[in-house]
């Protein structure tokens, strides 16, 4: 069948394309992109006037919780949430139970992700950096790579041992696998629950100092510079982290990084007192951090935006603040929060917004995604965005099982109205195809 996305603003950062035109998808593949495409024999046409047609979004930091924690999320619920959030590819972090440290577990994940009851988006597994994520013995990286991981990571179990991290980098350099770094020096952060500063003093909560993140980033960058391994720092939150990464990029380290939406639009002061729905790590920081993180995004020091989707079951969150887990469910709010707080405020242009949400994460992991150019992906991955749709985020209407988010009730502007992976995958109820015709 032939599908035409007609008359939208086409944003394809991979080719620096920003024009009004149409995208033609035939038999699940993008066949033409441009001001004039051949519409004869179209089976479905979507009127995209006033909308953006972009490569499907790519999330490189996402927790699917399966296997092991299906009360928090499953591959099915996460992929449905991803499609509704505009994503066509999501990376599955390895900190499941058991952790993704063997080819058999990677097979399981890919198998489950391919089942017809899922959201139909691509699930890209990330392997565990150490066996069982124990932080002591490197995993078998060559086997993991052959099984299909795009990177390895110590997510959820930050590496404290510099020698181990260096050894892992040597292995991964040879295999050309990037390492996604969970930067946290536990001797500094242990026991803390919010940013160390004015709010932690006021509320009598043990603080997580910015140094816990910065020391770990600096160590990883030094090792990356010395080994030559590609590393990617997950969710930076302090101005010092941004400055450190800027310096190491200048020195020639193969380092990239991402930021999660809450770190470019919320600060420690915004949290309603002791509301565990606002607890995350690294914690919400200060206005100075927020401004310099935004600047880092704007000047390219921060390469991309990732959801850091970390769903939890309600009963895990409804506990005294210090006992609550860290993290937010973010797949269904990340695009809208980015558009609301960065794009509509002129911090990122529409093209740069899509670059940070799709093209760059795909490039970092060398995925066949994040590009509308025909022939760059085995199946079409396309998202249609209504940048001006105003809506209120409501966790009671989300697909994710995780309802832990600081964005409940947040007024947002912009939303994915159509997500295609080969075929129509998610469509906003308010967005109807123009006409259907039998081809």
């Amino acid at each position: 069948m032939k599908v035409i996305l007609k008359g939208g603003r086409i944003l394809n950062p991979a080719t620096d394309l920003d024009i009004v035109g149409s995208v033609c998808i035939e038999d699940g593949q993008i066949t033409d992109v441009g001001p004039d495409v051949d519409e004869t024999g179209a089976g479905a046409e979507y009127d995209c006037r006033g909308l953006w047609i972009t490569p499907g979004l790519v999330d490189l930091n996402c927790h699917l919780r399966e296997p092991g924690n299906e009360a928090r999320e499953t591959i099915q619920s996460a992929t449905l949430a991803a499609a509704a959030g505009g994503y066509t590819t999501i990376c599955a972090m390895p900190n499941t139970q058991p952790p993704l440290d063997s080819p058999a577990l990677i097979d399981f994940l890919l198998d489950r992700a391919a089942s017809p009851d899922t959201g139909g988006v691509f699930v890209q597994p990330i392997g565990a950096l150490t066996k069982g994520l124990n932080g002591r013995e490197p995993a078998s990286y060559a086997s993991l790579k052959r099984a299909g991981v795009a990177a390895v990571s110590d997510e959820g179990s930050p590496t404290q041992n510099a020698a181990l991290l260096q050894r892992a980098m040597e292995h991964c350099l040879q295999l050309d696998l990037p390492i996604l770094i969970h930067a946290d020096e536990l001797s500094l952060s242990a026991g803390g629950s919010i940013n160390e500063g004015g709010m932690s003093a006021l509320l009598g909560l043990k603080g997580i100092p910015r140094s816990a993140e910065e020391v770990a980033i600096m160590r990883a960058c030094v090792l990356a510079l010395n080994t030559g391994c590609r590393i990617h720092i997950l969710r930076v939150s302090t101005w010092g982290s941004v400055e450190t990464i800027r310096q190491f990029k200048y020195l020639g380290a193969a380092v990239s990084c991402d930021v999660a939406p809450h770190h470019f639009c919320l600060t420690e002061e915004d949290m309603p007192e002791f509301d565990a729905h606002w607890k995350t790590t690294p914690p919400l920081r200060t206005m100075v951090d927020l401004e310099l993180v935004q600047q880092g995004l704007s000047d390219g020091t921060i390469d991309c935006i990732a959801s850091d989707h970390s769903p939890y079951a309600d009963h895990e969150v409804e506990v005294p603040f210090e006992e609550a887990p860290f993290g937010f469910a973010g797949l269904e709010s990340t695009l809208a929060v980015t558009l609301t707080h960065l794009t509509h405020r002129g911090i990122l242009s529409p093209l740069e917004t899509i670059r940070r949400l799709s093209t760059t994460p795909a490039e970092i992991l060398r995925l066949e995604a994040g590009n509308l150019k025909p022939g760059t992906s085995p199946v079409a991955q396309v998202t249609v965005i209504n940048p001006n749709l105003e809506w209120t985020f409501d966790v009671h209407r989300t697909f994710s099982k995780g309802k832990n988010t600081p964005f409940q009730g947040h007024r947002l502007m912009g939303k994915a109205v159509l997500t295609l992976v080969g075929t129509e995958n998610y469509r906003d109820p308010g967005f109807e195809p123009e006409r259907y015709r039998r081809s």
Binding site: A201, E273, E318, V319
Partner: protein, 309 residues
């Protein structure tokens, strides 16, 4: 009307004044040997202690008795709390156990606020983590009022482990809002790294910090602070921050010395000061009961209008 008491900081000026006046009235009545008026209805107060405490628990039991209310005790050992039940489920259960009010002590800062979201009646904070201990501060304000005749304009030095102290936070809010000038005195390792949001001026040197102070309030140094490197040794801490008779000369001539107890003698205070004429430590215990009585009455809605009478 019922209302919770999660912290001193979150009270309005009107509420704070009302609570302090009520405490003064309760104290006047009880110390004159009069008993408090019986309540219209006997209520059941749950004492829910997730952290061990004898003094505070007993003081609240006495307070409830003085008001003519019943008390039911819950502790974390020997109850369903120690069987893995979540706090929320415990509270939801207690909603149907006929409890009218809860007094909560919890090792986690903010737990009373969380509990108040799931309990329909008033919830009183009897100490949460390192956040606040409102009734301690209310009692301490009574003690200062008794010894000094006023609070407004006094210089109050709170000395010791400010970082981990709920007593320090509650007292700083209580006393500064009643017009005192509050100072925090202690080593950098036991002081919050940012104190801009707290109503106190910070001193790291004891002698400068207590210079001219009308009230010297010592904080308890927990044993674990020595193990985790916050203080080099007990001896070193005592040498730098102990209120000795000699050190006390730097405070105002009639300065009073306070301590929330239990005292580590020879650490925060030497014996001469703890048992000396300037010590009001035992008055603090007595006033603590008046404060808890007033706080319970204020929360449950007893004695309404009495404070102004």
């Amino acid at each position: 009307m019922t209302r919770s008491l999660p912290a001193i900081r979150t009270l309005t000026d009107g509420e704070l004044k009302e609570l302090f006046q009520l405490a003064g009235w309760v104290k006047a009545e009880l110390s004159a040997g009069r008993s408090l008026p019986r309540p219209d209805q006997t209520r059941t107060v749950g004492l829910l202690f997730f952290e061990n405490s004898t003094r505070t628990r007993v003081a609240f039991e006495q307070a409830a008795g003085l008001l003519g209310h019943r008390v039911v005790n819950f502790g974390s050992s020997g109850s369903s709390i120690s069987k893995g039940e979540t706090v929320k489920d415990t509270i939801l259960t207690l909603r149907f156990a006929g409890l009218d009010a809860l007094v909560v002590r919890h090792p986690s800062s903010g737990a009373p606020q969380m509990i108040a979201r799931h309990f329909p009646g008033p919830v009183l904070n009897a100490g949460d983590g390192r956040h606040e201990h409102p009734t301690q501060a209310l009692g301490d304000a009574l003690t200062i009022q008794e010894a000094k005749g006023r609070i407004e304009g006094l210089r109050v030095a709170i000395v010791g482990d400010v970082l981990h102290s709920r007593v320090a936070r509650s007292n700083a809010w209580m006393l500064s809002r009643l017009g005192a000038r509050v100072r925090f005195v202690g080593p950098r390792t036991l002081m919050p790294s940012v104190t801009a949001k707290l109503p106190a001026k910070v001193y790291y040197d004891l002698r400068t910090g207590i210079e001219g102070a009308d009230v010297v309030m010592c904080l308890r140094l927990q044993r674990e602070r020595m193990e985790d490197g916050h203080v080099g040794s007990v001896g070193e801490y005592a040498r730098l921050y102990q209120i000795s008779r000699q050190m006390l000369r730097h405070a105002a001539p009639e300065a009073i010395v306070m301590h929330p107890g239990p005292i580590n003698r020879g650490v925060e205070l030497d014996d001469a000061v703890a048992d000396g004429g300037q010590s009001v430590i035992l008055e603090q215990v007595k006033n603590g009961i008046y404060a808890k009585t007033a706080a319970l009455a204020w929360s449950i809605g007893d004695l309404a209008g009495r404070a102004q009478a």
